[in-house]
């Protein structure tokens, strides 16, 4: 049972390792990964340093190459794979079928993990990636209930990784074009959702307005905290009602499902947030480390500690957490 933590830079990576991560995942400093944000991610030199630090501590490094290669620009995706392999990373997280083919042809011994962006949610889809590219692990999109995850874990030919904590994508990842519809840039092509350069906040008589490429995503009264206008988490009008039509600003927290998921054989618990600070990564890693250790010592008497929940709530969007699609009623 692996605790897999995110890192957007070396300090965050060290922070993750120092606070209990078994493995860390990172991305290169270009649009080959789905968190392509200014000031974030690793160049070749930093990648080598990351691999050194992780391996010195006996932990693992995964590199996300999980956008879809642009025509005429294949070299960038190939370089990302080559460079990651050259510094000795432990796993490549890939979504593009072409990139999977390249990696499995050229580096059959380097583990390939199917990225959440590949949107693989059922056993036949997993069979496809297993048979064709011999993937060593599948990262499940956040669309399955815990019952469905358990069922899939029983039939999957490949070990499964799930999202445990962090920002909640409510759409099947890799199959959401809402961001490019509004801005021209999507996670699949540009490596970002609701990109910051399109964001505007504006004070008006009616309150603070948040906009994405001119579209009003939300409007906040004086006693509300104005949030980032992630386009699926704003308030909109449907049939005369104004509400969070798609989802509230909230984070995923699956602590209470830890025993269920562990017993189902889930091999890795993934923390979202390569865009987060080293301090954030430290706190989430430490809390989840405690929870996993507690579970391993008391598999039949696992109790969620209040201190864990309050620590995680403080780190969550709108201080709210949800079980998301894992909990059938959320759907």
């Amino acid at each position: 049972m692996e605790l897999l933590c995110p890192a957007g830079n070396l300090p965050a990576l060290k922070s993750a390792i120092d606070h209990g991560a078994d493995a860390v995942y990172i991305g290169m400093k270009d649009d080959t990964n789905a968190r392509h944000f200014a000031g974030l991610n690793f160049n070749d030199k930093k990648l080598a340093q990351a691999a050194d630090y992780v391996h010195q501590h006996g932990k693992k490094l995964h590199v996300a190459i999980n956008t879809f290669a642009h025509p005429g620009q294949w070299q960038r995706w190939q370089d990302a794979v080559d460079n990651a392999v050259n510094v000795g990373v432990d796993a490549l997280i890939i979504s593009d079928i072409g990139v999977l083919q390249y990696a499995s042809d050229n580096y059959p011994d380097i583990e390939r993990h199917l990225s959440v962006q590949a949107s693989s949610t059922n056993v036949e889809s997993i069979n496809y990636y297993h048979n064709n590219f011999d993937v060593a692990r599948v990262v499940l999109p956040r669309v399955l209930s815990v019952q469905q995850v358990k069922q899939l874990a029983r039939t999957s030919p490949v070990p499964l990784e799930v999202f445990a904590f962090g920002s909640l994508c409510i759409m099947a990842e890799g199959r959401c074009y809402l961001s490019s519809y509004m801005t021209g840039e999507s996670p699949n092509t540009a490596g970002a959702c609701s990109p910051a350069k399109y964001v505007r906040w504006q004070e008006t008589d009616q309150g603070t307005e948040s906009r994405l490429n001119g579209v009003l995503i939300d409007r906040y009264t004086k006693d509300e905290n104005a949030g980032y206008p992630t386009l699926c988490k704003g308030r909109f009008e449907v049939e005369g009602n104004v509400y969070h039509a798609l989802e509230e600003p909230t984070s995923l927290n699956t602590l209470e499902l830890l025993p269920d998921l562990a017993k189902a054989g889930i091999v890795s618990f993934k923390i979202e947030g390569r865009q987060r600070s080293p301090a954030y990564v430290a706190q989430v890693a430490q809390t989840w480390r405690s929870a996993i250790n507690f579970y391993q010592q008391n598999p039949d008497n696992f109790i969620v500690q209040d201190t864990w929940m309050s620590a995680l709530a403080k780190l969550s969007e709108g201080s709210q957490t949800t079980l998301g699609a894992y909990h059938r009623k959320w759907q």
């Binding site: 290669a69 059922n122 496809y128 759409m171 959401c176 801005t183 104004v242 039509a245 009623k329 759907q331």
Partner: protein
């Protein structure tokens, strides 16, 4: 250039669906896709009904294709998928790699639908070997993207091995979720949705608080608020090497839209687009909701 009718993305009553396809038989459409692609709970027509309907409307000069689900979460949904692929007579459209896997198992050819992430030549090559005969480009990609990709396909000597289809008219399918947004709007849990999306023949409008039509809620699917319309780009798509333009059914009127598109080849005219309801941005490499 051929013109296709995409699968009906909304949940319409069985009678409406049957009437639609009855009339589609005499429409200008060269290809007709049919089948449920959004939600497995929609069972006005079951798999066997779709297969029967496909066989019923099949004609020598009009190709019929069975479209399959995009987001599959259960063993039961895979059973239905297997049934659709196993029939063996009618070409299928895969909208999830599960369908590709099953088609390969059964040695059946397939269309790669818009919900499969095929973005580049490396991926096309893999899918071609596995039995792809036609590729529907992901909806968010541009004309430039397509042109570069098809040039690469020419150079690789594979361009003549598959057809290219582009989503060209209708509310764009943009996202799939575990959550049913229509049930949520009606304050119902998904497990007790009472199939309420059947009451919204064109989905529910989701507007900004300034009244801008941002998205359309169609069960677990989120669609573009504006209607995508490449009516003024028909010749450009033909020149780019597109083989088929897809018209996504909004109502029975969509059959006339097919004819309007077809007429653009012989007697082109300029259709002004309404920026409060229509868009064509994706093809022009700008925000999808914009008009170039």
């Amino acid at each position: 250039m051929k013109f296709s009718l995409g699968p009906i993305l909304y949940f319409w009553p069985k009678r409406t669906v049957e009437d639609f396809y009855q009339q589609a038989m005499t429409s200008a459409a060269d290809i007709i896709y049919l089948g449920e692609t959004v939600c497995s709970k929609r069972r006005e027509l079951k798999a066997k009904d779709w297969i029967a309907l496909a066989n019923k409307i099949k004609q020598p000069d009009q190709q019929v294709v069975l479209s399959t689900m995009a987001l599959l979460e259960s063993a039961a949904e895979l059973m239905t998928m297997r049934q659709l692929i196993k029939q063996g007579q009618i070409l299928i459209e895969a909208n999830d790699l599960a369908a590709v896997q099953l088609a390969q198992d059964m040695k059946v050819k397939f269309v790669i639908g818009p919900a499969i992430n095929c973005y580049n030549i490396a991926t096309l090559k893999v899918l071609l070997k596995q039995g792809m005969t036609r590729w529907v480009m992901p909806v968010e990609l541009s004309g430039d993207w397509l042109k570069i990709l098809l040039r690469e396909a020419e150079i690789a000597g594979i361009r003549d091995q598959f057809e290219v289809e582009v989503f060209s008219y209708g509310q764009i399918p943009l996202a799939y979720s575990a959550r049913c947004f229509t049930a949520r709007a009606e304050n119902r849990p998904k497990d007790d949705c009472r199939y309420c999306c059947i009451n919204y023949a064109n989905g529910m409008k989701m507007n900004s608080r300034e009244g801008q039509q941002v998205f359309i809620l169609n069960g677990v699917q989120t669609m573009s608020g504006y209607c995508y319309n490449l009516i003024n780009e028909v010749q450009e798509l033909a020149d780019a090497g597109v083989d088929i333009m897809r018209i996504s059914p909004e109502s029975i009127e969509s059959l006339s839209v097919v004819e309007q598109f077809k007429n653009q080849l012989d007697a082109p005219r300029r259709y002004p687009l309404d920026s409060s309801q229509e868009c064509n941005g994706y093809w022009h490499k700008i925000a999808g909701m914009a008009i170039a």
